[in-house]
Symmetry: D2
Subunit: 340 residues, 4 copies
């Protein structure tokens, strides 16, 4: 059995484990006041080109989305996301649990269309009943999207400009950010994000860490964000756990390098799938690939290969996802080729 | 510098790291569906003497308290805790953030008095205005308490009986549970807890793990508790992280054995402190020891020894906490003795 | 200027005011323990054919929706509504503020389609990721809908059956219930509702009262619903205010009789609009009528007639709403006819 | 049977009912956009000496407290109140339901002590763990207090200064504000409050209205407070209901004049109680009087007189409350005298 089900099927990059072992008996203060968290934050801000910004290390994606969104919105505001946005579908209503509505726009291969956002905000602005409605306060997008697709730089700028024009913030969910930035199709780099949005996070869990998401506020965090993190149950006593991990990931660009492996293997994967004439559901330039399998074939294949069932395609076919990761090997792709 | 500031100053027990490294490249499903989480849950239920129960592995204490309390209470109910209870003071209002009030009782060396609980519930019951008030729905205690003290078995039974008499549940916060059970002063064992309360958790973060708290529902969890955990941002994608850790801690009773080290070292610590004639603030049978230091002496000592400032004692003295842990060595206690 | 903007443009039915004046100096207990609230509850249950049920008198619609929905859902559940449902659009996120997501289905002239509900629930049930999603816990529909349309009895039965099949409750928002029941197109009566849903409310604010909505739980209310009402800020100290009003409305079927006036006047209104060849946006059998006005004409007309701007129709036309009410007179319709 | 149980035992001042009847068929826009709400807001700001301020008309006290507090606090903040404060005891946890903790201080005849507030805030400020705690964000006091007592002007100034020094806002719950201001013991007037706090409300429900509380923001309301009011279910469709009432109460100082009646009758009441040698629990300068009754006597008396059971005094005695109101007559006091 080989798993292409997701990009969190393995543990951590070995270098991370090596550093955790190496530093294990150093005594440190908790809650992110240890030297490794300190160093991680500094290196991240350096890599992001905003040394004056602030970084907070949280544990997982849903937690990070809910904590950041609740901290950035006023009580009467909601977050705007596309209908397939992770916060609106697969986070068990974590954002609503904080009291905020997720307002939805159509999706196009997982992406938000800047024009539709503009129309939505203009229509809200013109609505004579808007005072009876949830105020859009923040735009949420993910990079890459749920379908592995990417925004171009000009698309991000346009979304940001429209958001700002109407007084909204732009938040980028970067649970798989490494895989976006490592894609040849990506026309911006980590240090460009500070200008393209108001807050984003750099996903660790899916890119080599055991756990951990680094929230970057390029222009400073909301007041007492530390307390908000604690209030959301998102503060680890042993801050060294994300600290050592992100410090390692941001030493000698390990984060970028391992993300590149996922993209290279995804390239190999696409070649194998195409060779086997398996039809693609859409074209993805990152580590998640969506193909259409005939149901009995799918059933048979699932005995030896792990993939994620995404959505029904038609009566007899299903869309499934294959994901590569920092840990995927050429051998695994070859074995998959043999099994297909 | 040696730190006695807390029991989460080191990383993880080396056996845990060894197992994380060893299993690192095994491909597994996420969200606790991996074989190590499976095995950990089974071993924990075995150790707790309730194989029919349910276990959920969460990440940290505040998160666990808020998630469990919100899941067990009706909307109109609150949690009863002593005024020094962790949920009421040092969790940034995480319980209130879920919409539930923390109702407070006096504390006695950190403990709740069963008689006072009975009086409180009887008074509520008799209050003609009770329908305008928050209904007490759950009793929260910690084991050991914030002051390192322990409930005796008969005290726990009495609190449980009173809680049940009035229709409340009893929840035990066991962030440091290992250190309670390892104390010679403790007249019950892990497998007794299933009868002494309705839900409890076994703290990993402070007893040898990098992170992780194992919530035990001896009689079954609330419906769809998995979804509730997700909604609270408390579900790790890499469930193997707490899974491998708790599997290791509950193999050959590692959890119990390392907790014993903390108690043995606390015993040494008490001896050293008494030898130096440092007055104790109270008597604690577990790994946290509270002493009274003169302020200028405290200032000087803090240059070489880390301890936690607890509360002012009088104008010129302060109560401080020294904590031992699974990782504390005899040498560290000796060095402390030399420095005092 | 005559207003057809809404059905809450006037005060209260004169009989209500007469009774408020008449009983004004009777001393009564607060919070619904007065004899008029008592009597109102009894008469309402009588009229609903469920003397064993429970009634609570709240103040307004948004408040009632949020309070009832929060009381009936578990923490991990959401409410299913059509995309034009009042709770999802014009209640400022009041339901989300209680922590629950509103899950949306398409609307058909404001109505939910039973087949689409069934498909949605079946798809949820079959979704391998459903544990990461908000569980549908309750179906919310309104009677009449936002477009003034009505469900037939068989449609309600079908929605109820599907909801129950999947373990959901059915809640009917009856802010304008009187106008539904008074319509000749309605093939059920007030006393049928106890079998057609799990909870509903009888709107007072829009049908003759100054304020007040009567929530009917045909099979008993959730535990301590009184306290939940208080917690939501929905409990009036002077319970006599809704008490006297509903007692009056349910004496000699005043509620039904005044609702009939609205329907009769809506009939007149439709005749006038048709006579003036104003195109209808849809056919509504109740007191709200939606027509399409050319924009410059609309502008001019709005100087002398109040109507509600509903939504853009095309570049040069707008959908507007005319509403009649218990208070609308034949003369007002005639004056409108003259102005059109 | 005569009731002295509370100050909301009667309906409304007849002048209010007269105006409701008189304006009943005027057609008006909803949600506070009617001319009477407009006029009420203007007159209230005039009376408060802050024509640039903002007024919102809500329905009841608990609702008002929760809505205002949630709107003024950041997510990580709580409200400071004395342990007998209404928000902490008799509002069913409505404030916690919005996610905010109520932090408690001791009470002294129902009042907060400025020195204790200063000590509390200084201790919080100095607490090395404060980032793990709920931040005090607002001071809540009531005027008069739950025990009918009053703050002197210098006490209010001091509390305000301390609150501001530490960055907190001061909110005055004026559910019975009229009875405070009408007391000869009160050394400030309505127009002084704008300088003594940041936000307060003028209670209508207990001072002559059927319902309604007027929130006054002397220096402007939080952004989009209208939407927040809607989100809390606190917006009446028929805004004319509180509008006409407050417009009437603030015409020719009706509010002040009827409050004076309550104080005059309370004076008569005290005389009668003293004459009958009934011991007072405390001295109250307003319309609520607290006396100690022997239990069997209390039982007997309760057959003919309604009073509120407040709290046990000792084994054989109980503290009970007698309240006068705008509607209390000399005859009622005389009848009570005869019955005692």
């Amino acid at each position: 059995m080989i798993l292409f089900r997701c990009d969190y099927g393995e543990g951590a990059h070995p270098e991370i484990l090596r550093r955790l072992v190496e530093t294990n008996f150093e005594q440190m203060d908790g809650y992110g006041c240890d030297p490794y968290s300190e160093s991680a934050r500094r290196k991240i801000l350096q890599a992001c080109g905003c040394p004056q910004g602030e970084v907070y290390l949280l544990t997982g994606g849903t937690q990070t989305n809910a904590t950041v969104i609740a901290a950035m919105l006023h009580g009467y505001e909601g977050a705007v996301a596309v209908e397939t946005g992770h916060i609106g579908v697969h986070e068990a209503g974590a954002v609503e649990y904080t009291g905020h509505k997720v307002l939805t726009l159509p999706q196009h291969l997982g992406k938000m269309d800047a024009g539709e956002l503009a129309d939505f905000l203009a229509a809200f602005d013109a609505d004579p009943n808007k005072d009876h409605m949830v105020w859009p306060g923040l735009v949420y997008i993910s990079l890459p999207t749920e379908y592995g697709t990417l925004y171009r730089r000009d698309e991000l700028s346009e979304i940001r400009d429209i958001a700002h024009k109407y007084g909204l913030l732009l938040f980028i969910d970067g649970a798989r950010l490494g895989y976006a930035l490592a894609s040849p199709a990506c026309d911006y780099s980590l240090s460009d994000l500070k200008d393209l949005c108001d807050v984003f996070y750099i996903g660790g869990t899916k890119v080599g860490a055991l756990c951990g998401e680094a929230v970057v506020f390029p222009h400073g965090a909301p007041n007492h964000f530390f307390t908000t993190v604690k209030q959301h149950g998102a503060l680890l006593a042993k801050g060294r756990l994300p600290g050592v991990q992100f410090d390692t990931l941001f030493t000698d660009n390990l984060y970028g390098r391992i993300a590149e492996n996922a993209i290279a293997r995804a390239h190999d994967l696409v070649a194998v799938l195409k060779e086997k004439r398996i039809p693609f559901f859409l074209e993805s330039p990152t580590n998640q690939q969506f193909v259409i399998l005939e149901n009995t074939y799918m059933e048979r294949l699932s005995k030896e290969v792990g993939f994620d069932i995404w959505q029904p395609y038609d009566e007899t076919h299903t869309v499934v996802r294959f994901a590569t990761s920092w840990a995927t090997t050429k051998e695994q792709i070859e074995r998959l080729g043999a099994l297909l």
